[in-house]
């Protein structure tokens, strides 16, 4: 058994709780068989899992009985789901009429698409094997609302938690979902978030995250229904170990999915983004624009895959990844992937890695800005472009404000 296995799966017994036993046993079996990814595991080679081996992880956190501190406030009214140290804070979770929060049932746990032939999905299996709480948020058909999922941690957080969430949008529901994750402590948060968009529903998904300590491993899978529309806007500050898998499944006609994101990395922070947009049915459309700005000794990884499957004719997709290296010791690994097996499709991709433009820097200084202001403005201009498509309003203002704070 590897050191990581001993640390994360010290007990190989699967609790048969509430009918989840079957899924948990399956998950443990896969974990025992294939273990966790190694450096040679293609999609995990840049994720420094060795960090987890070095940490004195304490296992699941027991509720202390004390009321968790208030989550960071958002500047606009929204229904709230607050998870503190990976556990639901029911006192501060408050949802509007038409939105429900209930414990997941075994049939809510889907694992048929997880790879059980190798270690690539080990953390998703680990989540199934070890989640303590799993919550399903339901939005009734036709409802328009704004929701927030806020994850906060104590400075002393040293546990391993596996929160599991599911969001279901009813037919023609229109939701703006804001996620704010502020990692602290020395623990590991291994989350899985499933999102389902029913026919004609729309989800605008803002994700803002930074971790001062906790390792964050997250897998978010979005299933987009017929004529439904999913748009993610990501602002990630990374952390000692931040791994994000973001998978958008376009499995119905006229589904649209887009991911626009920017990672602003300083010091030794790391972000490893793996996105996949799966065109399973045509016509469908997707767009992706992801940017990384890496300073100091930070490491940014972007692996963006657009997959147009057989039969997904009349699918159209664009992908762009732009990256700025701001110091000699920063590193960025970027890899756009297109895989097309259908007819009558358009798909394009572009990838750039560069540095700040000296001429632009001079131009700004020649108008009176000092060098720091010029650099900051150029970084802002580069990064903020990913939010161009975000409709004007308080979510956009908030994302831009968070961006400015990080530059």
């Amino acid at each position: 058994m590897s050191a990581l296995m001993e640390k994360l799966v010290p007990d190989t017994q699967a609790p048969d709780d509430g009918g989840f036993g079957l899924a948990r046993r399956k998950a443990l079996k896969v974990l025992m068989q294939h273990g966790f990814p190694q450096r040679k595991t293609e999609h995990w080679k840049y994720t420094p899992l060795a960090l987890l081996e070095k940490r004195a992880l304490q296992g699941p956190i027991a509720q202390q009985g004390e009321r968790p501190p208030a989550p960071p406030a958002l500047p606009f009214a929204t229904g709230l789901v607050h998870l503190h140290n990976g556990v639901l804070d029911p006192d501060r979770s408050d949802l509007p009429s038409g939105v429900t929060l209930v414990a997941m049932l075994p049939e809510d746990i889907h694992f048929s698409e997880l790879d059980d032939s190798g270690p690539a999905h080990a953390f998703a299996w680990l989540n199934i094997a070890r989640f303590a709480e799993a919550w399903r948020i339901g939005v009734e058909p036709g409802l328009e609302c704004r929701l927030a999922v806020v994850m906060s941690f104590d400075d002393g957080f040293s546990g391993v938690v596996h929160p599991r969430l599911k969001l279901e949008l009813g037919e023609a529901a229109t939701v703006t979902l804001v996620e704010s994750q502020q990692g602290r402590g020395e623990g590991l948060c291994n989350r899985v978030f499933d999102i389902e968009l029913a026919t004609r529903s729309r989800l605008t998904h803002g994700i803002e995250r930074a971790s001062a300590g906790a390792a964050m491993i997250d897998r978010t899978v979005i299933d987009v229904g017929r004529d439904a529309d999913y748009r993610a806007y990501v602002l990630d500050g990374g952390g000692p170990l931040t791994r994000q898998d973001l998978i958008v499944n376009l499995g119905h006609a006229n589904a649209h999915g887009s991911i626009c994101g920017v990672a602003i990395l300083h010091d030794r922070s790391l972000v490893d983004y793996h996105t996949a947009i799966e065109h399973r049915v045509g016509p469908s459309t997707s767009a992706e624009d992801f940017r990384i700005l890496a300073d100091d000794q930070a490491v940014g990884v972007f692996n963006g895959r657009i997959h147009i499957l057989p039969g997904a004719d009349d699918s159209h997709s664009t992908m762009n990844t732009g990256n700025l290296l701001l110091s000699e010791n920063a590193r960025i690994n970027t890899k756009p992937e297109l895989e097309i097996h259908a007819e009558d499709v358009t798909a394009s991709h572009g990838a750039t890695i560069g540095q700040l433009d000296d001429l632009a820097r001079f131009y700004l200084r020649s108008r009176g800005l000092d060098d720091n202001q010029a650099i900051s403005l150029l970084k802002y201009g580069f990064a903020a472009a990913v939010f161009d498509e975000l409709p004007e309003g308080d979510l956009r203002d908030w994302m831009i404000e968070q961006l400015r704070k990080r530059l």
Binding site: L359, Y363, R367, D371, Y380
Partner: protein, 249 residues
């Protein structure tokens, strides 16, 4: 206002400006003409302090201060402005934000209060109107997607808002159609007063017909080889720069 004495400037180790002398008084407009590669743009860049344009000898005095001792942004705050021959695109930064940030940075450096938002917008809109530019430009990224003419006019908008004491226009007329040229010239003429000076680098007399320069200088091989009044531009238009060879011979 500006006294340049025996200026030598090297770019990448190659001397481009080779002993240039020039004096520009308050309120004067001087035109600099000269063949390609004579050092006109290099002079502009050297005066605003662009990296890589090394002053190896000589002095530049601006309003009694040693200009060469100042950083790029300090020169801007002191009142020196260069309208670039090829204005730079700044994706993602809208014009209004950029202009206001630049103006406030200069004012702060001079110990002045920040400009009021409403006054600022009023002033910019007025300048846009004069230059017949759409107000939507304020929300667009700096120079991104602008036509060549729009970029040049945008430089004049910046000039009008920042109100420098010395404006250097580097071939601002190049690539402009006749109407745009007139607009730019009118924009410049509106800004002329007894306290503001201009150095206009150009290849063509037509801009000078509108601007009526006080002096015209011909730059060749890094030196001013001829100076005169408006008739010098007319002669260049007629004869080209061939007479320089005769003069040097």
């Amino acid at each position: 206002m500006l006294k340049i004495n025996n200026l030598h400037v090297a770019v990448g180790g190659t001397e481009i400006i080779k002993g240039l002398d020039l004096e520009v008084g308050s309120g004067e407009l001087h035109a600099i003409m000269g063949p390609n590669g004579s050092g006109k743009s290099t002079l502009g860049y050297a005066l605003v302090g662009r990296d890589g344009y090394a002053v190896t000898e000589g002095s530049v005095e601006f309003e009694g201060r040693d200009l060469l001792e100042l950083e790029i942004e300090q020169r801007a705050a002191a009142g020196v402005f260069l309208a670039l021959q090829y204005p730079v695109e700044i994706p993602g930064v809208n014009n209004a934000y950029f202009l206001r940030a630049a103006l406030n940075a200069q004012r702060k450096a001079r110990g002045e209060d920040e400009v009021d938002s409403i006054d600022f917008l009023k002033s910019v809109r007025e300048q846009l109107k004069i230059l017949k530019m759409d107000e939507s430009l304020l929300k667009r990224a700096v120079n991104e997607g602008f036509s060549g003419g729009e970029k040049k006019r945008n430089e004049i908008v910046q000039l009008a808002v920042l109100e420098p004491k010395l404006a250097i226009l580097d071939e601002t007329d190049s690539g402009l159609d006749i109407d745009a040229l007139k607009l730019v010239a009118e924009g410049v003429n509106r800004l002329r007063d007894s306290q503001r000076s201009f150095i206009v680098i150009t290849h063509y007399q037509r801009l000078l017909d509108y601007l009526k320069p006080d002096r015209i200088h011909v730059l060749s091989d890094g030196r001013i080889v001829e100076s005169g009044d408006a008739s010098l531009a007319e002669r260049l238009e007629r004869e080209g720069y061939a007479f320089l060879d005769a003069t040097e011979a």
